[in-house]
């Protein structure tokens, strides 16, 4: 099985590679279109800013390549947000795979700290990503923007409001948290993705 990690200008690729290595899988980091198309599984990671990342993808025509993929694709954090319709982060048109809007957390009476940094629980799990992952498992989140609830929501997390901590549509999966940094529960989710 060939697992490809899409190489672009949004970090945490090393962490994803090591997380794969810990479960005995060697990932290939590439922005080569043919290699991405030929992969069995594609991971689309990301930490960074939405408009810069989208521009980078467009310049290399990777936006269309990702949208057209037929094999399972897993977007992580910014990767997931870029798979949505639109992001409020610098008013960015995204890939439009998931029918969700990406919005910024609003500080409520100064009480809400932004970005959300830390471990939060995921609920209402309904995706093969979460096989043997118990309801209310804790995952590691670092983000200022969130995907609103919608038809593609397959996990919900609360940070003042309920939002989509995972999305799924056909062969496309997305998680807002970092499974590569979420201890054994996160590792289980990566394994589940490799097994879909």
């Amino acid at each position: 099985m060939k697992t490809v990690i899409v190489k672009y200008n949004a970090g945490n690729i090393r962490s994803v590679l090591f997380a794969l290595e810990r479960i005995g899988v060697t990932g290939i980091v590439t922005d080569n279109v043919e290699e991405i198309r030929a992969a069995d599984k594609v991971i689309f990671p990301g930490v960074g800013e939405a408009s810069t990342a989208m521009n980078y993808l467009k310049e290399r025509k990777l936006d269309q390549v990702i949208k057209d993929l037929k094999q399972p694709v897993l977007g992580i954090c910014l990767g997931m947000q870029l798979m949505c319709k639109h992001s409020e982060e610098n008013d960015t048109e995204c890939l439009g795979i998931f029918d969700s809007q990406v919005k910024r957390f609003e500080s409520v009476a100064g009480l809400l700290k932004i970005p959300q940094i830390g471990w939060n629980n995921i609920t209402n799990l309904h995706s093969s990503l979460f096989e043997h992952v118990p309801e209310n498992s804790y995952m590691y989140f670092v983000h200022s923007y969130y995907a609103a609830l919608g038809a593609d929501t397959v996990a919900i997390t609360n940070y003042v409001l309920n939002y989509s901590s995972a999305l799924q549509k056909d062969n496309f999966y997305g998680v807002q948290f970092h499974p590569e940094k979420s201890a054994t529960a996160g590792s289980r989710i990566i394994e589940n993705f490799l097994n879909v």
Partner: protein, 251 residues
Amino acid sequence: MLTKRIIPCLDIKDGRTVKGINFENIRDAGDPIELGALYAEQGADELVFLDITATNERRKTLSALVTQIARHVNIPFTVGGGISSVEDVSVLLQSGADKISVNTSAFKNPGLVDELSREFGSQCIVLAIDTRFEGDDWYVYLNGGRVKTEVKAYDWAKEAVARGAGEILLTSMNNDGTKQGFALDITGKLAQNLNVPVIASGGAGTMEHFVDVFQTAQADAALAASIFHYKEIEIPTLKNFLYQQNINMRF
């Protein structure tokens, strides 16, 4: 619901974990990679590695060590110690660190915080402050606590957040190594007035001290070193205890 975080801190010197008291009297406390992986397994929510090596070779050694940590540790970790440029940070993040912490270099050149947050995002920039209470207020100290400044800790923290720091790691030098509890007043002032997470550090001796820092000071995370290294408090026991005191914990 977002949990409070328990963060063991590993001071690194020449590739080994060490621990001093009040920033002095350094003792060996084990292999950082093994210790880090053990803490992760025991339920630590994050790790902090502070490199206190002072040799010219340190940069190369540190990035190699960071790669080994990233390979073996499945929770987020922060690396700090002597970081003073965009290039330093870039190397460490590419080696696999999730966040970096800056201290003296950021104080001397506050523009570094803006530069780093713009380049890498606020979420991976932790501002570390060493502070001591003197006379009327808490003042910033530099160079591992050796150099006093006339700037108040709260004022510097506030400025750094405005410049893009994503978290504050606040160490009270009065409390560090004493095991008499965290500095609740200054920790509370920062945690309750800044809109970024505050990590309390210095003074943990009992499990009740963690209750105080989370409930009274409302810190977002608590960091400790020697009590974990010398197994005076085990992480699972601590987390269970805190959970029973209605403090939200990850298990």
